[in-house]
Subunit: 254 residues, 2 copies
């Protein structure tokens, strides 16, 4: 934890004086890479999503691990960056940009899409975009918020959940969300190599983020062949493979 | 329930033959009104959001009450419309549009915003849009999915939740979500008369949708003066007042 706090402190010093002028200027990609700081945690599906989206756009934010297991998100150093104590938090050091961190993975994904339109992570047509956002929300809104540490904390402290009850809860909601997604992917005409058509979208990012977390927890959901086919297609893309939780700073050593 | 089913059946008959040609042509607004069917439930915050967004745009979809309390969302008639058995479901009868229903409130709000840009429900700048979407997600993703009937069903059946335990759970998550929103609204410079600036956005729609539901459940969350100030501003706008759960078809008579 001390190491991460040092990182955070250094960042505040480094960037305080250059809010209006990114210093790196070796072409667009490098400039954009120096522009963003992403505060994340190795196994959190919401930060996985942001990591993949940036990577697909060819932008590499400076990423900082905030150790949720030791409560570092509530440390003084991190609360200076994001008073809400939540990750992902994205600080934009671009010229003239607000230093208020961008938060909530779906909002950040839309921001990345608007800021770096190529390659597109949303379809060109309004119905297609609505479908992609809807598929994404089935996981990012209907599923993931149920499996978060704060929910575990409440159920453990207030309703006597033990490890077995929590694991049954996790399995139930991952299964419910992924099987519902399977039903749509297997039946709706929009599905292609990926959730929608033949290039990855925000829906694939959310799908992969949830499958990645089920693997961390060693949960295998049955009856989702289309979901797993799409996951395999995602994993053939470097941006997804490189975002794997096990490959991030802070992950347990294999 | 029988009445609603009749409505649904009639709709299928009415619209089957006119997929490619809306028949009303008394100006843009009327055409748009004939274009959409919204399947909703009187007290559901997600359908409240869609109702308000359409109303702010001056579009009136044909709305159908799907009685969640009697399980009508799993009826054969409704599953023909949305095989996922979920509301809100929006069917677009516009010329050349897919009949696959649009689902998930945030995806539908973005669709409405893209289809009817005026008045804008998202700010013009990317950071502003990210802030609005983030504030909205604090309620639509972090809060609302925890309080849904399917979560109640699981906790009741599997973990022995009684009415008191469920009510404590509801109060805890409404309080957590709304107090977190309060912290941001009270401290961030983007806040104005509304959550962001001085015109209503998607964030206000989500805020109002959650406050409306807390009222249905007679839950009063303490310590949220900024949230309640914004709610009052929303309620001075007809689109919000008319969307009140108590004023919808299917609501209990006062």
């Amino acid at each position: 934890m001390a190491f991460v706090l040092r990182q955070v402190d250094r960042l505040l010093l480094t960037f305080d004086s250059q809010v209006t002028a990114p210093t790196v200027s070796k072409g667009l990609s490098m400039t954009n890479s120096a522009r963003f700081e992403l505060f994340s945690f190795w196994r959190t599906s919401a930060t996985y999503r942001v990591r993949v989206a940036f990577s697909l756009k060819g932008v590499t934010p400076k990423e900082h691990n905030v150790d949720l297991d030791t409560g570092e998100q509530r440390s003084e150093a991190f609360l200076k960056i994001n008073p809400m104590g939540a990750i992902p938090a994205l600080v934009d050091h671009g010229a003239g940009q607000s230093q208020t961190p961008l938060t909530q993975s779906q909002a950040i994904l839309e921001f990345i899409e608007e800021s770096f339109p190529t390659p597109a992570l949303l379809p060109a047509d309004a119905h297609g975009r609505a479908r992609v956002r809807s598929l994404a929300a089935m996981l990012a809104a209907d599923t993931h918020p149920l499996i978060t540490p704060r929910v575990k904390k409440y159920l453990t402290a207030t309703n006597g959940f033990d490890d077995a009850a929590w694991r049954a809860w996790q399995i139930h909601w991952f299964t419910t969300g992924l099987q519902a997604l399977e039903q749509r992917l297997a039946s709706e005409p929009g599905t292609g190599t990926f959730c929608h058509g033949n290039t990855p979208t925000i829906a694939d990012i959310c799908l992969a983020s949830i499958i990645a977390v089920t693997r961390v927890f060693k949960i295998e959901v049955p009856g989702i062949p289309t979901v797993m086919r799409v996951m395999a297609a995602c994993e053939r893309i470097d941006a997804f493979a490189a975002a794997d939780p096990g490959r991030q700073v802070g992950a347990p050593q294999a």
